[in-house]
Amino acid sequence: MNQPSKADVIQLAKVVDHLVDAVGDPSATLRRAMILLDIDLNPGTTLNAVGERLQLEKSVSSRNVDWLWNQGCVLRKAGREDARELELETSPYAHKHLQLALRPFGNHHEVLIKNLNTFIDLFQKHMPTLRELKALLTVGVLGQASRTQVINNLYDGPPTTDQRAVRHLIEEGVFKTIEK
């Protein structure tokens, strides 16, 4: 298969940067980004509804929504019909960054959610992070890249974190190594 256009993959890498800005952490999993997108698409939704749409167990959606709330990405308020069931919406800050991430997709949340899910399915051992998706797209832009080139395009995290991300991608078979 041919390499995709460099400009297009750079555009996708920028989408990941905006998602990182929205959740405030490159170590956030793609699942968390998907949940945030789903809440943004369905303001006033509930935990149960998010879980049903994304086919997540309640404990998984609950844990991830708690994390997003702690990050300041999600707002919770008492439900209008049942005060015990909290309504969820994205914070203005997260919403604006999601708008930037969604711009190349014509603001179609479901398209971005579908593609994030496709990348999750590439991983067998662990849930991929936005950092790992950025690393993957960096190699997509360059065609082939050294570990240093990949790490230099990440998010100024601790070197061990960036190295671990590359190692995960090799272990998962997402990256192949060649010698020249």
């Binding site: 298969m1 390499q3 995709p4 256009s5 297009d8 993959v9 555009q11 996708l12 405030g24 709330w69 702690n70 990050q71 300041g72 707002l75 914070s91 203005p92 800050y93 604006k96 960054h97 708008q99 930037l100 711009r103 190349p104 997709f105 014509g106 603001n107 179609h108 398209v111 579908k114 593609n115 496709t118 990348f119 590439l122 993957l136 797209l137 190699v139 997509g140 065609g143 082939q144 890249a145 050294s146 570990r147 990949v150 590359v166 991608l169 090799i170 078979g173 997402v174 990256f175 192949k176 190594t177 060649i178 010698e179 020249k180």
Partner: protein, 50 residues
């Protein structure tokens, strides 16, 4: 000899699919005369715990 990283075939297909979806959306936007262009003003970050 130097080590390089490349994408495996399945990952490359996923990237292609991602690009195609973006291109389709872009074409749809252009067909509408670029109406999806908008400006965004970013508010300051807020943490619920603060």
């Amino acid at each position: 000899m130097k080590e390089y990283l490349v994408l495996d075939e399945k990952t490359l297909q996923a990237v292609h699919g991602f690009v195609q979806d973006m291109t389709s959306a872009s074409n749809a936007i252009n067909a509408l005369g670029g109406q999806a262009n908008f400006s965004v003003t970013l508010p300051q970050p807020k943490n619920n715990n603060v």
